[in-house]
Each structure stands twice: as C-alpha cells, then as structure tokens.
C-alpha cells in the first residue's frame, strides 16, 4: 500500500470488494514429484500436512459460505486434488452449491469412482498438466514413468465429459527437447483445438515447497523463445493463413497499482484482482489473495469466510518503493508481479537476474512480431 493507513481507515477507504473468483486448494500433497512444483512439500511432511487439511464437511461448508458471499467461479486444485480419498464427497458437496467449476489435475489418479462422480457432476472446465510425451520424460520430470500411462488413460476418460479441457505445460531442462512432441501429443492424441498453455516464467517454490526450481528451469531466453513460437503457432491454428506475425502490433496495458480504466481508478493490493475479486482458501483454511503469497492472510475457517474476507485488507502491507525500476530498460516488458518477485527474491519489490533476463527476452521476442506501438505502450 502506498499510504500508511490505519486498520480502520483501510476498511473504510476500501471500495466494495466482491469475492467472485475463488480457489480451493484441497491439499498441497501430490502423487507426483515434479522438480519445478511451486507448492509440493517434501513427502516427510505429509502426515503433518494431512492433519491440518480441512475435512470434506469443512470444505462443503466453506463452499456454502463463499457462495453466500458472492463467488461465481471456483477453481478446485492442489497439489493433486484427486489424491484425497474423500475427493468425490467434497466434489459433489461443492458442486451442488452452484458454481462455475474448474478442476486442475495431473490426470494420473482418475479412478472409476471419480469418473462416476464427474459424469454425474462434470466440471465446466478441466485444466490438465502435461510434463512430457514419453514415460522416460515423466520419470525424469515427475519421478514416475508409470504416471505417463496413467495420464494418457486419465485424459481419455476425462475427455468423455462435456467439460472444456485446457492443457498446460511447464518446460524445464528435462522435458525441453520434447516441447514439440508434447504439442503433437495434445493435438493428435487428444485432438485439442489449440496447443497447451505454457507456464513461463517458472517461479521458485513458495510457502514451504521443497522443489529446487533454480537447478531445473531453463534459461529465460530459451523459455521465452519457445513461448513466442507457441503463441504464433496457436494463433495460426486459430486464424489460419491470414495470420501474419509481422502485422501484429503490441499494445501494453498499464499494470501499475492503481489501474486507470475508462477514467475510473481501480485500487488494488497487488496490481491485479487478487484480494479485490479473487482469493484462495488454502488446504488448512487460510484465506490468501494469491496462492503465491502467504505473507498476508486471515483465517477463513476460524473466523468464517465473510469476516476473513472483510478483514483481509488490514493484513496487507507492502513497502512502496518509488523509482525502484526507473533505471531498468525493460520495465515495459517485465511481467513480474508481487507474487513472482516475492517467490524469486523474498522481497515484494525485489529483482533477480532471472526476472531481468525474462523481461529482456520478452522484449527481444516481441520485436519478432510487427513491432511495438510505442505511443500506446507508454506507461
């Protein structure tokens, strides 16, 4: 926050915040051991984590509370949510409250019982993460070759649902060479209408996650190159031959703390809608603005969702540093946010070599397109 407001002032000065978009993180545990996972803890912590996880009844009650508070879109995620033995019970209980539901999964734990539940109560959208195009790569990235076969079978089963399916991929050193093969798998085996979403940049682990992301992620330059090529390919698939990358003009939106949109100021905590319209309920019932940032939270289970949501603004305190990035040549292409900077450096306003090179690489690949409309890109 720019101004140092008192707790009372923050609440009275705060515009109406409605929690339209929620995320329920059913667990941070996962059956896979992906080297770059943001959230997974070491397996030795599982008993302690499980002891803190909300029960099925608590999740269903939380769904009732968030529906009452105005949540329309709800993402069910993990860790791997299907790892919970009571996943079906939780899913059905949440579903009956009436949300636009999205499910994130690695598709390796799709059992007949889960399919029976999902057929009865299909999500509106399923986001599936893919880590490779071969068992060998799954072994390297996730620690399980068998998971590849289970993922293939799981996705085929999930595709029998009327849900929209979106594929996601994170490229690290171990699966980078398979980037095109992963795309082919998605397009040919699963007949997707467009390629996968690529997570880029790859953030370091947060909230006690055990992954050593730095040692496995590829350079920002390589990552951005593949991302830019994938973007062009996917546009070509959608638009066809009429699409000419060189004719594209890039306009940039101001992503500063207060966004001036149609003459209306939209205050925010983190330069996005986190904490204003969106929130996360963690596996142990805490309310966060963003799954990446646990520095500010209220206890949604102890206090009740509505109270926790109302009190959240009093917990946020980000030091304002004017001119921190003013000497950087790549501020216009830097897409780092408070969450990613905090994950990367432990400082909300911090910068690292990785963040800097990512912004620089993005600038380089944007010039591959027709060019940047400098006038419109002035911040």
């Amino acid at each position: 926050m720019k101004k140092n407001l008192t707790e009372g002032q923050r609440l009275t000065d705060m515009p109406v915040r409605i929690p339209y978009n929620g995320t329920f993180e059913l667990t941070v545990r996962c059956n896979l051991h992906c080297k770059m996972c943001l959230f997974r803890h070491d397996d030795s912590e599982n008993p302690a984590l499980m002891a803190k996880e909300l029960t099925a009844d608590q999740w269903i009650d939380m769904a009732r509370q968030v529906a009452e508070a105005g949540t329309l879109n709800l993402l069910i995620t993990g860790g791997e949510p299907m790892l919970r033995p009571d996943f079906c019970e939780i899913w059905e209980g949440i579903y009956r409250q009436g949300f636009i539901l999205e499910l994130y999964t690695n598709a390796t734990l799709v059992t007949p019982k889960i399919m029976e539940t999902l057929k009865k109560y299909p999500p509106h959208k399923i986001g599936v993460t893919l880590y490779g195009a071969t068992p060998e790569t799954y072994e390297k990235v996730c620690g399980s070759a068998e998971a590849f076969h289970r993922m293939m079978e799981g996705i085929h089963q999930l595709q029998s649902l009327p849900s929209v399916m979106e594929f996601r991929v994170t490229l690290i050193k171990d699966n980078f060479a398979e980037s095109d093969l992963i795309d082919d798998l998605i397009m040919e085996e699963f007949h997707a209408k467009c390629g996968p979403k690529q997570s880029c940049p790859i953030n370091k682990g947060v909230r006690g996650a055990c992954a050593d992301v730095e040692s496995c992620r590829v350079s920002p330059e390589l990552d951005m190159e593949v991302k830019a090529k994938r973007l062009v390919k996917s546009m070509q698939q959608i638009i066809g031959d009429r699409f000419k990358p060189q004719n594209l003009k890039i306009e940039r939106k101001n992503n500063s703390l207060a966004v001036n949109n149609e003459q209306k100021m939209h205050p925010s905590f983190f330069g996005c809608m986190a904490g204003m319209e969106q929130y996360v309920i963690t596996y142990d019932g805490k309310l966060l603005a963003c799954q990446m940032i646990d520095a500010f939270f209220t206890d949604a289970w102890e206090k009740g969702f509505q109270k926790a949501w109302e009190e959240f603004p009093t917990k946020v305190s980000i030091p304002y540093e004017e001119g921190r990035c003013s000497t950087c040549a790549y501020t216009d292409t830097c897409q780092s946010c408070y969450g990613s900077r905090y994950a990367e450096t432990g400082d909300f306003n911090g910068c690292s070599d990785y963040i800097y090179r990512t912004a620089k690489a993005r600038k380089q690949y944007e010039s591959y397109f027709g060019g940047i409309d400098d006038e419109k890109c002035k911040l």
Partner: protein, 112 residues
C-alpha cells in the same frame, strides 16, 4: 345457414388452449442462486457446456424460474408475476408466453 359478415378482429387469448392444459417444470440442470445481488442460473450436469456456464436472470425471470421448480400452468405463472410485480394481467400473459418460448427453445423446461 348464411354466414353474417363481421369486421375482422383479432382477440389475443391468454394462451393457446393446449398450453393452458399443459404444465411446465424447470429442468434440474440449472442451479438458481444470487451472485452479488444478481440472479443467475448456473448450467450444471450434462449442460455445463451451454451458455458459457451461466445465464443472468432479471427479477421477473427469476420469479418465474422459482415458480417453475414445481410443475406449473400458464395461469399459475401469470398469477405469480401479477402478485410479485403488480402488473396488469395482459402484460403477465405476454411475459409468461415469451419466457416459456425462450425456455422451450433452449430445452430448459419439461412440458407435460
């Protein structure tokens, strides 16, 4: 018997005789709830791919949808609108017909 000429005239009937005898019930593939004071229908079950997931209802549509949770005749639906909004009977008739037409077109209602 010789037919007497009459000036052509149209008289709208409250609803088609067939529809009067029919009952209508909302399909259970929609969940009606409020989101920040606005009534919405969330498409669920095999309907998830429809309407981008949800439809916004105005207050009169929300009133009719609630009535349609039970099998209802046109007359009952018209009565609901008249009671809730104090509108003239003719307007209620027209609104119910329009609404039922929409619901039937989108296969959102069971007709018996």
């Amino acid at each position: 018997m010789e037919k007497r000429w009459e000036e052509p005239s149209f008289k709208e009937t409250p609803c088609e005789p067939k529809e009067c005898a029919e009952t209508f019930q909302a399909k259970d593939q929609y969940i009606h709830r409020k989101v920040a004071g606005t009534d919405v229908l969330i498409s669920v079950c095999e309907n998830v791919a429809n309407f981008n997931g949800y439809i916004q209802l105005n207050p009169s549509a929300a009133c009719l949808w609630e009535q349609l949770k039970e099998p209802s005749t046109c007359e009952q639906l018209e009565q609901s609108l008249e009671t809730a909004f104090g509108i003239p009977h003719d307007q209620a008739v027209e609104d119910v017909l329009d609404f039922l037409k929409e619901l039937k077109e989108h296969d959102m209602v069971i007709v018996r």
